[in-house]
Structures are given as C-alpha cells and as structure tokens.
C-alpha cells in the first residue's frame, strides 16, 4: 500500500487504512526484514529453541484517567494483550515515560500504581524503564510506551493463514466500551452515560482457548475496532468473514451513545476483549470456556468464515439485508489509547 500524503494527519494514527498506508508505505519500506514483515500484533522470534513474542505500543490516551481505568492500566494491558493474542505467555514489560514539565507527581504515582496492579493481575514483571521530561507545551501531560516479551508454548500456532472456510468467529465480550467511555470522559460531547472502559488482560482467556485446541487466529479489537481487525484477517487469510448483527454483544448504553454520535460500534475500540477464530467443532467448547470466566461472561459466536467474497467482511443485518463492513478509513476521533 502506497503512502501518498505529504504530511502526517490524525487519520494516520486512527488505526484504519491511512495507518496501514503509513506503516506499509513508509516504515516497512525503510525497515523491511523477515521478522517485521508479517506486521502482526507481536513479532515472533526464535532463540535457542524457545519461541518468543515481542511487541511494543505507545499510549497517548486523553484524559489520562477515565471511568474504568487509566493510561497505566492501558499501557500494561494493551501490551499484555498483544502478546496473549499472538499465543504467548506474557513475561516481561518495559515502561518508558515521556512527561510534560509541570505534570503532578501525585498523578504520576497514581499511574505507576495502576501499572503495578495491572502487571500483577497479568502475571508480568515491569523489568526496565526510562524517563524523559519535555518542556511545557511539548507533550500533553504524559505519554507511556511499553514493550513486552512473552514465550510461546510448543505447538502453539495462531496465524491468519490457518483460518479456513467453516471456522467460527468468537468475541469475548461487549464491543466498544473503552472507546466510548474515553470519548465521553473527554467532556467535549456534552454527553453523560454510565460507561466504563473494559481495559483488562485477556491472557487467561487466550490460554484457556489454546488449551482446548482448534484455535486458528486471535486478535484484540483495539484501534479501528472489530471491523478493522476482521478486515485485516480477511485480507491476510484470503477469506470472507460473515458477521451476524443480532449476535454482536453491545451494551445498551454504548449502542445509545454511538447512535447519538453517529458512530458504528463496530469501529469503536475495546481494550479487554479477544476475537478468536476457531474450528467449527471447537466453537461450542470455546464459547463455554470463555463464558465460564468473569471477563468472558458476555462472549458470543458472532459469525463464521466463508470462501467468498475473498478479503471482505460482510454483515447480515437484523433486518435481513447483507452489507459490507469496511476497514476504518480514519475518522478524526479523539485519542483513545
């Protein structure tokens, strides 16, 4: 995909097609190597017989504290989840902080405590870190970067190429809670709703599915939402993904807020959800395994994989029509992760 813009716009950061153009048309072109090439959530490397997953992510969420969590929770859970959906057991994280001059120490401590709590819940150690302070006005409060390393158990193999027609698509919980909670917490929209971020580590859900077997591919629907994650799958695997609108779990508050704002929950980020494509014969057991855990209580089978039309995501609407679900084009939405 070619990058045809002269300057970087917010669309390049939204996780949709413009982001893809930036990553593939600039970074991959300049930095190309076999480990980077697959552009997965985490890179897979092998070291003396041990397979490792290696990932990094930066967090620029505004506001830093929001209902259900903070930038600290997000920075740990987001990276843990990128490792977990690659099929790895998360082990170590690094943490880098870019702090704006004048940032309250009490807030920084609160963020660090959230990170400690999240790391403990996910069973990872924050093993190293870095701190930079920039002049007032040169950063918006606080940015956090985390890098994570995890190990893959022998035999674990989750890749888009393994997905085939007939497989089922599972989602571990409701869509879009995080994105909508943050958008509302910003206060720009003058909307009030009782919506909390879903930020959480999904490593246990992923491990439970891997133990059952039959898992082809996993992903966490963050920036760009479910629609964008499944479009990437459809493209990489050369399959069609067919979703059933009636089966999509969306909280009534989130559905209502989305309706008012004209946003489709399919494109709104979650930070504690897991999408899994599993073999049809494993689907019932996988759903039961997800639902038996509190984090997966609202899990659902939301669709299936087909042969045709290749590379597209389709939605069977509640009304009985069928339409395409495209990848996010890049909306000027606020920073949510």
């Amino acid at each position: 995909m070619k990058l045809r813009d002269d300057v970087v716009t917010l669309a390049h950061g939204a996780g949709g097609k413009a982001t893809r153009a930036l990553v593939e048309g600039l970074f991959l072109e300049e930095l190309r190597n076999p480990v980077l090439e697959p552009l997965g959530d985490a890179a897979l490397v092998e070291l003396e017989g041990t397979r490792l997953a290696f990932t990094t992510d930066s967090y620029v969420v505004k506001p830093i504290f929001f209902p259900g969590g903070s930038i600290g929770d997000l920075a740990v859970n987001g990276t843990v989840n990128d490792l977990a959906v690659a099929g790895a057991v998360p082990l170590w994280l690094s943490a880098g902080f870019v702090i704006e001059e004048g940032f309250p120490v009490a807030d920084l401590r609160r963020v660090a405590r959230d990170m400690a709590g999240a790391a403990e819940a996910a069973g990872v150690a924050i093993a190293t870190g870095d701190t930079k302070v920039v002049e007032r006005g040169n950063a918006d409060g606080l940015y956090v970067n985390t890098t994570g390393v995890g190990a893959l158990a022998p035999g674990v193999d989750v890749r888009p190429d393994r997905v085939q027609a007939g497989d089922r698509v599972l989602l571990s919980g409701t869509l879009g809670d995080h994105g909508m909670a943050v958008m509302i917490a910003r206060g720009d929209l003058r909307l009030e709703a009782d919506i909390e971020s879903d930020t959480a580590p999904v490593h246990e859900l992923a491990a439970a599915l891997l133990e059952l077997g039959g898992v082809r591919w996993m992903r966490d629907p963050t920036r760009g939402g479910l629609a964008t994650a499944l479009n990437e799958l459809a493209r990489h695997a050369g399959v069609a993904v067919v979703l059933a609108e009636d089966a999509l779990p969306v909280l009534p508050e989130v559905a209502g807020a989305c309706e008012i704002l004209g946003i489709d929950p399919l494109y709104v980020a979650s930070e504690g959800r897991l999408i899994a494509v599993v073999a049809a014969e494993t689907a019932a057991a996988a759903l039961a395994a997800l639902r038996s855990r509190p984090l997966g209580a609202n899990a659902a089978v939301i669709g299936s994989i087909g042969d045709d039309p290749q590379g597209l995501v389709l939605l069977d609407t509640s009304l009985g029509g069928r339409r395409i679900v495209d990848a996010l084009v890049g909306d000027p939405l606020p920073r949510i992760c």
Partner: protein, 368 residues
C-alpha cells in the same frame, strides 16, 4: 436501547417487505429518489435493497449537505482557517472534503487551528473561552441545521461577542428538487422526502412536486422500518391512482413545520441571488446568506475571501450521481481513483454521500 430496537425489528421488516412485494406490479420498475443522504445511509447500512423486489430502484438525491458544497467554497474555508489568529470550527464531515487545495484536515496538519464541533453553539463557546482568537464557524446544511446557526447568531448579538463569525453555506431543499425535476432525461417516479428538514419547513414545500410534476412524495423518518413503510405508501398511491404529498413521519413532522425555527432563520438569514451547487451548478435563490444586520458576524464581510471558482475534476461524475442520472458505481472513477481514503468527489467523502454509502456497505450487491 429500547427506542432503537422498536424501529429495527426484523419481524416487522419482513412483514413490510412482504407487503411491498404484494403491492408491486411485476415487471414495472418504480424509481424512488430518497432525497436525503441520511436515508441513503440507512438504506445501505441496513441492506434494505435486499428487502425490496428488483422492481424497486432507489435513486440517491442531492440531500447530503456536504456533498453539494463546491470545491471553491472549500478553498475559501481553508483560506479562512489559515488566517493568523483564526480558530476554524466545523462539523466532522467537512474536514475531509477535498477542495482545489486539499482538505481542512490537511490544512490542520499544516498548522491551521481547525476544530471539529457538534454544534455551532460549541463554536460560540470556543469564542467565549478564547477572546484573543477569531473563531470562524463554517455553517453547512439545509433548513435542518440552519436554525441552530440562527440561534447561535442571535445569542452572539445578545451577548455582544465580537470574535465570532459564520461562513454561511446553508442551502434550501426546494430549489434543487425543482432543478432535478426540470433536468433532461429525468428518470424517477416518486420521492421519499427528508424527514428532518421537514420538521422545520413542514410538508407544504413539496406540494409543487405532486401538483406540477405529477410525482408522489412521502415525507419519511430515518429508521429502516420507516423507509420500508414509505415505499409501501408510494406504491399504494400508484395503485390507487393518487398523487399527493403524504407524511409518514407523523410522530414529528407537522404540515406547518416549526414556526419558531423558521422565524429564527428569517431573522438572521435571507436567500442570496444565486448559489453554486456541486454537480448541479448555479441555482437561483437556493442558498442562504446572513442578513446585513448580522454583517459583523459574517465571515464573508469580516474577511476578504478569494472566492475562486474551482471546476469539478473532469473525471468526477458527482453531478450525475446527485440527480440520480447514474448509480454511484457507474461513475468512471468509483472505487478506483475515487475511494473514501482518497476521495475525488464529495459524494465519496461524507458518510451520507451516495458513493461512500455504496463503497462502504454495498459493493457486494450492486444492481446494474
């Protein structure tokens, strides 16, 4: 959400779909233009074309306010946004619309202070909070959004706020409909008229369509079931040999509209001699401008705009799409040179544009 589910019941949709099937005369095509981009969006998003027989053909009209803004006006907007000390505010849809010099989003990336707002009152609030900035609000939309701009202007005058102005691109719905009806090679049988704008102007505006042009009109709300019901109402008019303006949106729309909203518009705005519409060209007395009493808040008076006319790109067939002469995918550049990420024409930019609706939702089942 209870109020959503009630209007999106699959069972009711199937019932209406059966009724449409029963009303339609086999083999006789009925071309219905839904005027409003909101309707186009709902039809595509809910896959309504799958619920009606092949005889029913939805044509997509000019009622997407973003789609009808000509490129020259976008360039004027960018010019305003780039003036020193200016904070430029508008609706999110406008940000990606390409003019001759790129889009507002690109101007923002180059350093212009461009903000997305959900209401002109939010733009006025920006002016209150930033007295050292000159806040310019790009107002677009039919009579639907004009009252909000009008109320903002009235409040602005009342509070004596000096650092706020409106770049007015409001348009009216009647003239473009007449232009379409007068266009050669017209191929449409009935209208689904926009619900939201009718809450303001009432249903009388459409009388000339039934009376002078012999086309039935059904003023329609925006839920998928509403649109299916409107199709039933259109078909009934044909079967019963009637040709009138009917109101499907009785839960909100009254024949006389909303007199207070109309009064607010007339207090602050007046019809200009002519306004350029993308794809439709110049249409007399179709655009609203601020009244001279509001010159202090009129960006076209406060700033010297370049006002250059920019020809639509040669390859772009937005104009033919907007009058229903061609389907979006019949355009030469649809989905190839023109996509939502690199739009050439405005119909591909806004979520309400016919081309974007087809590109985003409908590429599987394009009926020729």
């Amino acid at each position: 959400m209870r109020f959503l589910d009630e209007f999106r019941s699959g069972e009711l949709a199937r019932r209406l779909s059966r009724e449409i099937g029963a009303q339609v005369e086999p083999g006789r095509e009925v071309r219905i233009m839904e005027v409003c981009g909101g309707h186009t969006h709902v039809i595509s998003k809910h896959g309504l074309e799958d619920l009606v027989p092949d005889e029913i053909d939805f044509l997509h009209g000019p009622g997407c306010p973003v789609c009808v803004i000509p490129m020259g006006r976008v360039d004027d907007a960018i010019f305003l946004a780039e003036q020193p000390g200016v904070t430029f505010a508008t609706f999110g849809d406008m940000l990606r619309v390409p003019g001759g010099r790129g889009s507002l989003l690109q101007a923002k990336a180059r350093g212009a202070d461009v903000r997305m707002v959900y209401s002109p009152l939010d733009a006025l609030e920006l002016a209150r909070r930033n007295p050292d900035r000159r806040v310019v609000f790009l107002a677009i939309g039919f009579e639907t959004t004009a009252p909000a701009t009008a109320v903002t202007l009235l409040r602005c005058r009342e509070e004596g706020i000096g650092n706020f102005s409106v770049f007015c691109n409001h348009v009216t719905i009647g003239p473009p409909l007449r232009a379409i009806l007068d266009s050669p090679g017209l191929r449409l049988d009935a209208f689904i008229a926009p619900g939201h704008v009718s809450t303001v102007i009432g249903t009388g505006t459409y009388d000339f369509i039934a009376r002078d042009y012999g086309r039935p009109v059904v003023v329609t709300a925006f839920e998928p079931l509403d649109i299916l019901q409107a199709v039933v109402m259109v078909l009934r008019q044909f079967r019963e040999g009637r040709c009138e303006v009917e109101n499907q949106y009785t839960r909100v729309v009254r024949r006389e509209g909303n007199p207070r909203a109309i009064a607010a518009i007339s207090e602050t705005m007046e019809l200009g001699e002519t306004f350029e519409w993308r794809g439709l060209g110049w249409i007399e007395r179709s655009g609203l401008r601020l009244r001279p009493e509001f010159a202090d808040w009129d960006a076209e008076v406060c700033f010297e705009l370049p006002g250059n006319r920019v020809e639509d790109p040669k390859a772009c067939q937005c104009g033919e799409v907007l009058v229903g002469a061609i389907k979006p995918w019949e355009c030469k550049v649809f989905g190839t040179a023109c996509t939502p990420e690199r739009p050439i024409g405005t119909c591909m930019v806004s979520a309400e544009g016919a081309c974007a609706a087809y590109y985003n939702y409908g590429r599987v089942a394009m009926k020729a």
